[in-house]
């Protein structure tokens, strides 16, 4: 039961072989046991979860359940959840209780999912290792001396350790896919605008994308079905007809389910210095796609190398402005002693924000400054368009693009913390999806010599969620990487 996927649990719940109370209770027990080791959860809401589970069981009994009713879920702590503390991994919001719920949280709650708690994260979603959390790093269930990745490290570790079958995350430059890769789970970043950003504490508004972690691509599809949809409260939310993202998964496609699918292999992704074990695992996976009927085609993304510098102009620029509201005036941390207004601002923000947040606010303020705007922000937006053009051209020749999610597997806590540039390189393969607003998923595709999981990234064109989920799902039908459970957390 503990290691079952959302789809499997759903079948048991709907068949009344299992109650949500039973499931939620045992997962809460697991969370309480594991959390001192993993530090994946910042808030555990046993009372609230049990009452939601009770309501879910009643709904199942009444025959009005959705496929997600009664399934326990954790939210990244950047997603507002009414009545629950929402810290963003920051001292600034250490005691901030959300007065309303994010659109995605509302949607999943309406589907009947049971929120068990809030997961640890890099402060304000800035980081690739979860070491930037004010509440300490998340530990990787596969090796607790290693990081779980970031910024959604808590959600990734929670799913990897089978503390919850699914969790939400947000992905601004890879913050779902990179921790999914490092923790050995699936992580889906949908097309920008498919899920409302309402209630997501903003890092970089033009890049932030809510998404989901699960054991399987199928689970990601089920959650996306509930999370997607237009929201009038987010002006960048897209008003599109509802879509069943799992529709391709159940089609009987025979022995060659990926026949006709063209897998693009960007030459830029394969010379970019991913670790040899990762390259080997990706090559093996590609061979797997071929045996499932897919064809492969080499594509070129000549400007994709600029993704990282473009990202580190645009993202801090937007963040510097988005984080200005944390000023100690209306909510959140305020310095205890100050001389005047300016001093209050300075001390509040100096105390409330950690080093990485300050670094990015400084970068962002700099690139937007008078006299530098054209050279940095405007130029970065122009290059962003060129990168999008590269992908558009590539998708004329292929349906999905495949490569490694991250250049390395999980590294040791403390190893990269003093070298921000090295840390930023973790997102080298993931950032382009955010810059272009397109969907991508990371799925487990093997382990390195140290027994750490390797992630495979499948990118698609805008609104190609159903297709990348199908490619991932067909792969998972013939592999069991996603079924592996870290030794210390096997039931």
């Amino acid at each position: 039961m503990i290691t079952s996927s959302v789809a499997e649990l759903s079948r048991s719940l709907l068949a009344r072989r299992l109650s949500s109370i039973e499931l939620t209770g045992s997962l809460l027990d697991r969370i309480e046991t594991a959390n001192p080791t993993l530090n994946a959860f910042l808030t555990i809401d046993r009372e609230g979860a049990m009452s939601q589970a009770k309501a879910a069981d009643a709904r199942i009994a009444a025959g009005t359940a959705s496929p997600l009713t009664g399934i326990p879920l954790a939210h990244k702590d950047v997603i507002m959840t009414e009545g629950l503390r929402t810290t963003c991994g920051s001292r600034m919001l250490e005691n901030f209780v959300a007065p309303y719920s994010a659109f995605v949280a509302e949607r999943l709650a309406r589907a009947g999912m049971v929120t068990v708690g809030k997961t640890n994260m890099d402060e304000f979603a800035m980081g690739s290792s979860n070491e930037n959390s004010y509440f300490g790093p998340v530990r990787n269930p596969w090796n607790t001396t290693c990081v779980a990745g970031g910024s959604s490290g808590g959600s990734a570790a929670a799913v990897a350790a089978r503390l919850v079958p699914a969790a939400t995350g947000t992905d601004t430059g890879g913050s779902i896919r990179q921790p999914a890769a490092l923790s050995g789970v699936c992580g889906l970043k949908p097309t920008y605008g498919v899920c409302s950003r309402y209630g997501l504490v903003a890092l970089a508004s033009s890049l932030d994308t809510p998404g989901v972690f699960g054991q399987t691509a199928e689970d990601c599809a089920l959650l996306l079905n509930a999370m997607a949809g237009h929201d009038a409260r987010d002006s960048t939310s897209l008003d599109r007809p509802a879509e069943d993202y799992a529709r391709q998964l159940s089609e009987n496609a025979g022995a060659k389910p990926l026949a006709g699918v063209r897998v693009g292999l960007p030459r830029e992704y394969f010379g970019a210095g991913a670790e040899p074990d990762i390259v080997d695992a990706i090559e093996t996976a590609i061979a797997g796609f071929r045996s499932l009927g897919a064809t492969t085609v080499e594509v070129s993304l000549p400007n994709v190398d600029h993704s990282l510098p473009v990202y580190y102009v645009i993202s801090p620029a937007e963040a510097s402005s988005n984080l200005a509201r944390f000023d100690g005036v209306r909510y959140g941390h305020r310095a205890a002693k100050y001389d005047d207004l300016t001093d209050m601002y300075k001390k509040t923000r100096a105390e409330g924000f950690g080093a990485e947040v300050k670094r990015r606010i400084l970068i962002g303020t700099y690139v937007l400054s008078h006299g530098y705007y054209d050279a940095y922000y405007l130029k970065a937006q122009q290059v962003r368009r060129l990168i999008a053009d590269d992908f558009r051209k590539a998708y004329q020749r292929c349906d999905v693009i495949v490569g490694p999610t991250s250049p390395t597997t999980a590294f040791c806590i403390g190893d990269n913390i003093d070298d921000p540039l090295k840390m930023y390189l973790n997102d080298i393969f993931t950032i382009a999806s955010n810059l272009t607003g397109t969907p991508a998923i990371s799925i487990p595709c093997g382990f390195d010599g140290k027994g750490l999981p390797i992630g495979l990234q499948i990118q698609g064109n805008a609104f190609a969620e159903a297709q990348i989920l199908n490619v991932a799902h067909r792969y998972q039908q013939t592999t069991d990487w996603h079924r592996r459970v870290p030794a210390g957390f096997a039931p």
Binding site: C88, L93, P99, A232, S235, A324, D327, V329, R330
Partner: protein, 490 residues
């Protein structure tokens, strides 16, 4: 040396939408502090702005009214700065591409006559909250050294209207501001309430030697919350600048605050202290796209504009242009005038007379009673009846004014004819009666007659006065004049 004054005006016009520009909270003035402040208005984490179409519609209306270009695509930008009443740490405004560009406003200058003031742009933005220093840090206040913040105003939609530096005196600046004020009320985009801050002007003032092509260094004067203050502030600032330059000083570009109590402007901050607002397009809001259909819909619902209405009053009713401009100062005055001249009273009323009476007698009574024309107790059709009796010589002007007073006070149902009949005010136009009247006056005043015949022309008026007084003003003055002249000559 002859100095030329150069003024440009920036006006923050509060748009009359029921809800805020990016949230659904009410814009009503005067509510309990922070009772109209939604999650968006206080910038809770995770909330997002959603543009109020009503604000855009009003901006389009303004663009059409001034003949400006309505940009089919404009962009909201963030203006970043820290202040406690600015909840997000940035103001959403329009920077590089505003919703309206260009256009002009026709004004009448007291010195240069009628001309058009060019507009630079008009852009949409949100207002900030209000810092309440007095309510807290004062004797009996809520806390010494503390400042309260009211976010009710935060997010109120504003249209910032920027004029070119086309104005050459404080009087022209006020004429522009008044014309703009009546225009925004006319087209229904702003309630124009200056006490409540619905219409706030800043003036950019500089001086230069007459004939200089280059503009002088300017100062921006803030806190001009009445037309009188605007005029006084500009006059003070012009004197200050001229004295400074004539004394060999150098002008510094700065923002100055007008202090109405001391009637002076004081430096707030210089250009060097100016903040870097780090403008960039707001990623939470897609570009504002206005299609031709929308513009045409708004155009179809536009009222006739004051300028064209004034010209129509000249053409249709023979009203002098200066009167026509005053009659079109507001839609209510214009409507009063037009309803009066079109009222079915049996005669074709003279537009010129109606205009005269509305701008004179009616306006005087409105001012005396402190009411607006829409509250005037004498309605246009009633007023038209009175004018008809004046025009057809049933009553003389002085009697008509007295009747107007009785109507104003609602005597005898406020009907002019009823009052005239009841009070026996009908003009005496019977020539036999007037002949007799004149004979009586001549007989009773031999001394005055003698003075007249000795060449003292003024004595004639005195005799007319006696005749009018004898009939309590009811005698037809023209007939009295003619008969008196004939009899004295004979």
């Amino acid at each position: 040396m002859k100095w030329e004054v150069v003024v440009g005006i920036e006006t923050h016009t509060q748009l009359s939408t029921a809800s805020k520009i990016f949230s659904s909270a009410s814009t009503a003035f005067g509510a309990v502090p922070n009772s109209h402040a939604s999650a968006v208005d206080i910038a809770l984490p995770g909330v997002l702005p959603v543009l109020n179409k009503g604000a855009v519609e009003r901006a389009i209306r303004f663009g059409l009214a001034v003949g400006g270009t309505i940009n089919r695509r404009s962009v909201f930008a963030r203006k970043n700065y820290f202040y406690p009443d600015l909840p997000k740490g940035y103001q959403i405004s329009q920077y590089e591409i505003p919703v309206v560009q260009g256009g002009s406003i026709a004004i009448v200058s007291p010195t240069r006559g009628a001309f058009r003031v060019a507009l630079t742009r008009a852009h949409l933005e949100e207002d900030a909250g209000k810092s309440l220093h007095e309510a807290f840090d004062s004797p009996g206040g809520l806390g010494r050294g503390m400042t309260g913040i009211d976010f009710n105003r935060a997010g109120t939609p504003l249209l910032e209207i920027v004029s070119e530096p086309d104005l050459r005196s404080s009087e022209e600046a006020v004429a522009y501001a008044k014309t703009l004020h009546s225009l925004v009320k006319w087209i229904g985009i702003c309630d124009g309430n200056m006490q409540e801050g619905s219409f706030r002007c800043d003036a950019n003032v500089s001086v230069r030697l007459a004939g200089d092509a280059k503009l002088g260094t300017r100062c921006e004067i803030k806190n001009l919350n009445s037309f009188r203050f605007m005029q006084q502030a500009i006059e003070f600032e012009v004197r200050r600048q001229i004295e400074l330059i004539e004394d060999g000083g150098t002008m510094v570009q700065e923002t100055r605050l007008y202090d109405p109590d001391r009637n002076e402007t004081r430096s707030m901050r210089s250009k060097e202290d100016a903040q870097d607002y780090r403008y960039f397009p707001d990623p939470d809001l897609p570009p504002l796209v206005i299609d031709g259909t929308w513009i045409e819909q708004v155009r179809a619902e536009m009222p006739e504009l004051p300028e064209s209405m004034a010209h129509r009053f000249v053409g249709d009713y023979g009203v002098p242009i200066t009167d026509a401009v005053q009659l079109t100062a507001s839609r209510e005055i214009a409507r009063y005038f037009e309803s009066t001249v079109q009222a079915p009273v049996g005669v074709h009323l003279s537009g010129k007379t109606a205009a005269n009476w509305i701008l004179g007698e009616i306006t005087a009574r409105l001012n005396r009673d402190g009411i607006e024309i829409e509250q005037a107790p004498v309605r246009p059709h009633e007023f038209a009846q009175l004018l008809a009796r004046f025009q057809d010589n049933t009553i003389a002007g002085s009697i008509a004014k007295a009747v107007l007073d009785r109507m104003w006070n609602s005597e005898i149902g406020g009907e002019a004819d009823a009052i005239i009949a009841a009070k026996g005010l009908r003009q005496i136009s019977d020539s036999g009666a007037i002949e007799k009247l004149v004979d009586d006056v001549l007989a009773a005043n031999p001394a005055i007659v003698a003075e007249y015949q000795a060449g003292k022309a003024k004595a004639f008026n005195s005799l007319v006065g006696k005749a009018m007084a004898a009939t309590k003003g009811k005698a037809n003055p023209a007939q009295v004049n003619a008969i008196l002249k004939r009899k004295l000559a004979g």
